[in-house]
């Protein structure tokens, strides 16, 4: 292996200075093929790389003070150092709560209150959530208001549906806390959980529950530059939705994660339970109407943008970084979208042929957007890709462009009111 790397090193630092080098510790063909297609050369993490597709841990190492690694202007990496502000379940909730309070303090009309305590008219896009054990008392208070409802417990640091369970009785939570090795003593408990009100009226198609997996690319948090991948998909449960207590523990009914569903008897490997967002939209427009469908998709965009604005102030906005997040959204029966969680390393495993095509395009389009038009990574570039570089992405928001337009507009040069909001 080291020999192979040596050869690469020679070719990288050899005659052709403009050769772009890449490095990855994610062994997925969709990634490597995409780089090789561009004529880039693979090198090891210790070598001079221009583009590193890293797992979050490697990225954290590079940015950690102990490592003392200094990136130069020709290097890009696919994570922000503290992405967990957005992607850890407890931190996301904390940041959104803080964001709402700040807006409220400023008297921003977006933070207008809705009916009932703790409700917001426009910013209620995550289910009511508490961090356990820290917010246990607050949770109990909320729980008592509507003891009929179901709650969902998720470990903060795990993904792919691991460790998740539903509860419909406080006694069940107490039982769980007794059985868990550490009692509810914040100093002893290693693993914290979030507990959220369970969306028990999800929109069903063919009687089955699903969620949306949307890909959102961020090239900068301050100013915010965000793109939405148009080829998102729905992930369906394999079993009919059923809220009865007997089925409360059946995760094939409740969890849409492919990693969960693919172990089910009914899992179909030809389509993997995935329906394109295009087809979802066709179905909803045809059966529910155009206006409500458009409102739903506008609300989805809204909740993505505000989740990003909520974390923007605390993100380490390193110029070398970009990141593609996997947004999980559940639509309820009133066609209201709920943000469930955000993943920093959305799965690049391909479960079906279509999946492979989709993920190949995803990586290809990401590279086209984050690399300047001349094809060589450069952090000094203004990160304004030309429209043809977007591929299947659409611009959600570019605060820099918005600010420019506003300036031009107020100085009277620019009469059209076209905003960069989509």
């Amino acid at each position: 292996m080291s020999k192979v790397l040596n050869i690469y090193r020679v070719s990288a630092s050899g005659t052709d200075k403009t050769k772009v080098t890449f490095c990855t510790d994610v062994d997925k063909s969709v990634i490597v093929h995409n780089f090789e297609k561009r004529g880039w050369v693979q090198v090891g993490p210790e070598d001079d790389w221009n583009f590193y597709w890293a797992v979050t841990q490697s990225c954290r190492n590079i940015f950690s003070v102990e490592t003392g690694y200094r990136m130069d202007d020709k290097q890009l990496i696919n994570h922000f150092p503290n992405h967990y502000e957005l992607t850890r379940k407890d931190l996301l909730v904390k940041n959104i709560k803080r964001y709402r309070k700040e807006l409220e303090r400023e008297g921003n009309p977006l933070a207008e209150r809705g009916d009932g305590p703790g409700k917001y008219l426009y910013l209620d896009f995550i289910p009511v959530t508490f961090v356990l054990p820290a917010d246990y008392n607050m949770f109990v208070e909320e729980y008592r208001k509507s003891p009929q409802s179901t709650w969902i417990m998720k470990p903060c640091g795990k993904s792919q549906g691991a460790g998740i369970f539903l509860i419909n009785k406080l006694s069940k939570l107490k039982k769980w806390s007794r059985e868990a090795k550490n009692p509810f003593n914040p100093n002893l408990t290693k693993e914290s959980y979030v507990i959220s009100r369970y969306i028990d009226n999800p929109l069903l198609i063919g009687g089955k529950k699903f969620d949306l997996r949307l890909y959102v690319l961020i090239t900068s948090f301050r100013p915010l530059k965000a793109y939405l991948f148009k080829l998102g998909f729905c992930r369906f449960c394999t079993v009919k939705y059923d809220t009865s207590i007997q089925e409360l523990d059946n995760m094939y009914v409740h969890l849409t994660n492919v990693s969960v569903q693919k172990h089910g008897e009914e899992y179909n490997s030809k389509h993997g339970g995935k329906l394109s967002v295009h087809n979802l939209r066709l179905y909803l427009e045809s059966t529910r109407g155009k206006a409500v469908t458009e409102k739903l998709f506008a609300n989805i965009t809204w909740c993505i943008i505000h989740s990003l604005k909520a974390v923007a102030p605390v993100m380490a906005n390193d110029r070398h970084c970009f990141e593609c997040y996997g947004y999980d959204i559940i639509i309820d029966n009133d066609l209201k979208p709920w943000l469930i969680e955000v993943n920093a390393s959305p799965s690049l495993t391909s479960t079906t042929v279509n999946d492979r095509i989709l993920k190949y395009k995803l990586i290809d389009n990401i590279i086209s957007i984050v690399v300047p038009p001349d094809g060589i990574p450069d952090v000094k570039w203004n990160k304004c890709p030309p429209p043809e570089a977007l591929g299947n992405f659409e611009l959600l928001l570019d605060e820099e462009l918005v600010a420019q337009e506003e300036k031009e507009y107020s100085s009277g040069k620019y009469r059209s009111s076209s905003s960069k909001w989509k």
């Binding site: 179905y283 155009k290 279509n354």
Partner: protein
């Protein structure tokens, strides 16, 4: 002289009116219509002293006149075959061999069905055992969990087998060289349109009118933000008018997504029928071997399809009910193009008396591999399984049954294959010759598209635009035209390959195609 003509016209008009009155009485919505009119007559809107005028006025003002007009429209459509056969084509050409071929084909299917029953030792039909009936009733909305072993069941035939049947048709008056491969349908003397005639038919496409399927965002001629807004506004007006012929005309330029379901129902008259429940009861009551074949087909098609898998459960219900629908039987078997053979099955373990005998299957339609695909796209249009069922059924009765029966009908599968061949030969001669050189019959490449009306081969949105055109122009000729257009569009790649497998690979993925612009391109260029 003039008076005579006037007189005879009067007589023929009266005759038509009499016939119409008679026929309408046997139509599904007659009873309902009659009740409504009686109610109207009893109301204060109709005056005894001026009965005729006040009745006509009242009919107009409460919309019943439109209902009557639509009923006549649907009657005319059910009488006249699709795009009325031109007189010239029926001249002195003996096409009875096609009818014979269909009769033989039906016999073969029946034989194959019987041997399936014998092999598996199951009866054609029986009273459904209680336990099974209960399970089926309980799982009616979730038949994907109705667990029966179907590993021994195979579809009776696939499109490929049907194509072989078509290829084996011989025109007895046509002398062929003994060693010549049965290469094409050219020897079958059915009149098909030329491209020029198609241009004449699909006039909205030919003239380059703005069509929704080309680009909904294109600027509108009126004061609307875009074409889509304009089309939505107009279609709402069309639906309000409730006139079926206007809705049909409207579809020629594409339906907006949100209103397509209602527009299609209006054109097809497929609303307000209430015997869906009866069909379900029939399924629960009798166990026929067709049920297994239907369930198997849904499993083989929709269940594995990433566009339709979410609708698996509703498709079981739809297809099972369809098999019990005796209203399908008459139109399909009495059509002069079909073989018209009906099997009767005696319920297992019962004496062979009339009351123990049923038409098998009650719909007269024996499913084949992919039959479900005729119904799948409707899942995108209707949430209500009943509404979906009736529109699917109406579509089947008007169009789809012609795609799996041998007939001399101008809209039948033979004519459509012939149309495809003629168009390819005339307008893509290089491709035609290339196919000859590599020994692949061109029809073979596109047959599965044609036989399924492209269902399952195009993304749903594009497919629905295509089916808008079928309804709007009331013709299936758009399907072979699209097939030729796709080959023409991929010509460069096709010219570079020289075996069936590679040809199929070039044409396997149609997901990037935009149907309406392609068709427009083909019809526009002169």
């Amino acid at each position: 002289m003039a008076e005579n003509i006037e007189e005879s016209r009067k007589i023929s008009l009266q005759k038509s009116a009499e016939r119409l009155t008679e026929e309408i009485q046997s139509m599904a919505n007659y009873k309902n219509l009659y009740t409504e009119i009686q109610k109207l007559v009893a109301s204060t809107a109709v005056k005894r002293e001026d009965f005729k005028n006040t009745l006509l006025e009242a009919l107009k003002s409460n919309g019943l006149e439109t209902e009557i007009r639509n009923t006549v429209f649907h009657w005319v459509r059910s009488q006249g075959s699709l795009s009325a056969v031109s007189e010239a084509s029926t001249e002195e050409v003996d096409l009875t061999y096609l009818k014979k071929a269909q009769i033989q084909w039906e016999r073969r299917i029946q034989k194959s069905l019987n041997s399936t029953c014998n092999e598996l030792n199951v009866p054609l039909a029986r009273i459904r055992p209680n336990a099974d009936r209960e399970e089926l009733a309980e799982k009616w909305n979730e038949l994907s969990t109705y667990d029966i072993d179907l590993s021994q069941y195979r579809p009776l035939y696939a499109p490929k087998d049907f194509l072989d049947v078509l290829f084996s048709i011989r025109n007895p008056s046509f002398k062929k060289q003994p060693n010549e491969l049965n290469w094409e349908f050219g020897h079958i003397q059915i009149h098909v349109k030329t491209l020029t005639q198609l241009r004449h038919l699909y006039v909205d496409l030919t003239k380059g009118m703005s069509l929704l399927g080309v680009n909904p965002d294109m600027p509108s001629s009126e004061n609307f933000t875009n074409l889509e807004e304009e089309r939505i506004y107009i279609s709402e007006k069309v639906l309000k008018s409730n006139h079926a012929p206007i809705a049909q005309e409207f579809l020629k330029r594409g339906a907006p997504r949100a209103l397509r379901g209602r527009l299609w129902s209006l054109v097809l008259g497929s609303t307000d029928l209430e015997y869906y429940e009866e069909l379900k009861n029939m399924v629960l009551q009798y166990d026929i071997v067709i049920d297994k074949l239907i369930i198997k087909d849904v499993q083989l098609t929709a269940r594995n399809d990433d566009q339709y898998f979410v609708f698996e459960d509703v498709l079981y219900k739809t297809m099972l009910c369809f098999s019990r629908d005796s209203e399908v039987l008459a139109p399909v078997t009495t059509d002069r193009s079909a073989g018209g053979q009906v099997i009767h099955a005696v319920l297992q373990g019962k004496p062979a008396t009339l009351e123990n005998t049923l038409v098998f299957p009650p719909s007269g339609v024996i499913p084949f591999h992919g039959f479900t695909m005729y119904a799948t796209p409707f899942c995108y249009l209707y949430d209500d399984p009943c509404a979906m069922y009736y529109t699917f059924r109406a579509f089947y009765l008007r169009y789809w049954f012609r795609l799996h029966t041998v007939s001399s009908h101008e809209q039948g599968i033979v004519a459509l294959c012939l149309l495809f061949e003629r168009l390819l030969q005339c307008h893509e001669p290089l491709l035609w010759i290339h196919c000859r050189n590599i020994h692949i019959q061109p029809v073979k490449i596109v047959f599965k598209w044609i036989m399924r009306g492209f269902s399952g081969h195009l993304p749903p949105e594009q497919l629905l635009y295509l089916w808008d055109l079928i309804l709007g122009y009331d013709s299936l000729e758009i399907i072979p035209l699209l097939a030729v257009t796709i080959l023409s569009f991929r010509k460069e790649n096709l010219m570079q390959v020289n075996n069936q497998q590679s040809v199929e690979a070039v044409l396997a993925d149609l997901s990037s195609l935009k149907v309406v612009p392609l068709l427009q391109l083909a019809l526009l260029r002169e």
